[in-house]
């Protein structure tokens, strides 16, 4: 896993590649999650952690609940001491989708994800209007309710409410009155070119580099 404090207004970025081919059993999921939570807890201020699933062949429902759903559940706790943590799930293929989506929906959660081909999408429980706003924000990188609402044929107040809710659900970042796509943030930080380190539950004390 690599991490780097970004330039001004950029969160601390970390990339965790999940090297386990079979993410099965609740026990394994718990170990992986604790490893990731340990790394995230070291971040001061805002952080964006990218979990890369490209090497994961099988993820079962129990493991998806322990890793994806519980990570998001804990991340959504109100920010304390200015700390806000965000997650992006990359390399999510069709074979991951059913367990991950099922785990998220049971808890009313949603996460931002990317297909192995690099297409952004949301997995989980999201209202259609929010999805529309999120998709436009993904394309633009950043925006505010005032600018987005007329483009979407939406009331500005409703658009603002949707943006605030998506921020509370850790789907987008906030910078003043603007909101930012997590993909845009990751690209700005040059994240894709970074080397990655394993986060498979076997290195529970791994630190940030």
């Amino acid at each position: 896993m690599t991490a780097q404090r970004g330039a001004a207004n950029l969160p601390e970025i970390a990339v965790a590649r999940l090297y386990k081919e079979d993410l099965v059993t609740r026990h394994t999921g718990r170990a992986v999650r604790l490893s990731i939570e340990g790394l995230v807890s070291e971040a001061e201020g805002q952080s964006l952690t990218v979990l890369d699933f490209r090497d994961v062949n099988v993820i079962d429902f129990s493991c998806a609940d322990e890793i994806v759903a519980k990570l998001m559940l804990r991340t959504m706790a109100p920010a304390t001491l200015g700390r806000e943590h965000f997650f992006l799930f990359r390399g999510i293929g069709d074979h991951h989708l059913d367990p991950v989506e099922s785990a998220l929906r049971r808890r009313g959660l949603v996460v931002p994800a990317e297909t192995p081909g690099g297409e952004p999408f949301l997995i989980g429980d999201v209202e259609p209007q929010a999805l529309r706003v999120w998709e436009v924000l993904c394309r633009d990188g950043r925006g505010c309710a005032e600018a987005l609402a007329p483009r979407l044929g939406m009331d500005e107040g409703d658009c603002g409410r949707l943006l605030r809710t998506m921020h509370d659900r850790r789907l987008i970042r906030r910078d003043g009155k603007d909101y930012l796509s997590l993909f845009h943030t990751f690209t700005q930080a040059g994240g894709a070119s970074r080397a990655s380190r394993r986060a498979d539950g076997e290195e529970t004390h791994a630190g940030r580099q």
Binding site: D22, T25, F61, S62, D98, P99, S102, A103, R106
Partner: protein
């Protein structure tokens, strides 16, 4: 002194019921060593083999003596039991001569009988079936490529059910057959069993009060399979069985879960088993059977 229990000629899910009835009659006497006479067995399914281990374990627990078992006369049946590694696992249950090495060569089973005691065992079985499952599901059952992953997930969840809920050891095995009687097609059978606290015991603390006098093994099975309820209040729990049910349905398969004195089943058109049976012989733990039929010729692999 010993008392003989006859193992039915056909040791499948129906034969298992006869075996349990025999055990319940004999074990009431107590103090005697039980002998399971399997000499007349002519056919065994994976569920039957797992069932034979389960009744052996219960017999040992009830009498305090490891039971004995008479091997089948049929050479074919003996070979099958060898290929499924029955004797290696049976050694932990029955009073047998030590079994040092595996007598058979490479097995054609999808998954030989494997004891499930920890999450390490679940990882091991998922890893072990990967190549064999790909060959069997794609080439023999004509399932699409992703079905190997779906099967691995199902295997993992069904085995975790033992670790998370049974509070006892269990076993798993899988094999393919030509299911002439019902389908005229090949099927894959997956059997999992344990002799733990069962669904009624597992869910009782959380759900029994709400059901009042209606609480039973059947009610517990319905709560778990149909409503995704679990022994935990955590809404993330109870997904495994729901997922298995959905997947087996997509494959037009059969799923049967026996626990206590009841059995609940997801029944496809080709199967005649009742969707819910109450009043069966009482037996500890849970026994799960999944039957996945080959796709009809010409349906193709989508």
């Amino acid at each position: 002194m010993s008392r003989v229990i006859e193992v039915p000629e056909t040791l499948d899910h129906k034969g298992f019921e006869q075996l349990v009835a025999g055990l319940n009659r004999s074990a009431e006497i107590g103090g005697e060593r039980l002998v399971f006479n399997a000499r007349h067995v002519r056919w065994t399914s994976p569920y039957g083999l797992i069932g034979l281990l389960a009744v052996g374990r219960v017999a040992r627990d009830r009498t305090g003596l490891a039971p004995r078992i008479e091997a089948p006369d049929s050479r074919d049946v003996r070979r099958y039991w060898d290929r499924m590694d029955f004797w290696h696992v049976a050694h932990q249950v029955y009073d047998l001569e030590p079994v040092s090495t595996r007598a058979h060569g490479a097995s054609d089973a999808l998954l030989e009988i494997t004891a499930i005691q920890s999450h390490h065992d679940v990882h091991a079985v998922v890893e072990r079936v990967r190549e064999r499952a790909a060959a069997i599901l794609e080439n023999r059952l004509h399932y699409p490529k992703p079905s190997v992953i779906h099967f691995s997930v199902m295997l993992s969840e069904v085995c975790q059910n033992i670790i998370e809920h049974a509070e006892a050891d269990g076993w798993v095995c899988a094999q393919t057959y030509h299911y002439r009687e019902r389908l005229g097609r090949d099927v894959l059978m997956l059997a999992v069993g344990d002799v733990g606290i069962g669904f009624e015991g597992s869910l009782a603390a959380e759900h029994a009060r709400r059901h009042g006098e209606g609480w039973s093994a059947a009610a517990a099975l319905e709560a778990a399979l149909l409503h995704g309820e679990s022994r935990f209040r955590d809404p993330g729990r109870g997904q495994g069985l729901q997922a298995i049910r959905r997947q087996v349905g997509k494959w037009d398969g059969m799923l049967g879960i026996r626990s206590g004195n009841a059995m609940i089943a997801l029944v496809p058109e080709w199967e005649t088993i009742p969707p819910l049976q109450r009043g069966l012989e009482g037996f500890p733990g849970a026994q799960i059977l999944v039957v996945m039929p080959a796709r009809p010729e010409g349906e193709g692999r989508r």
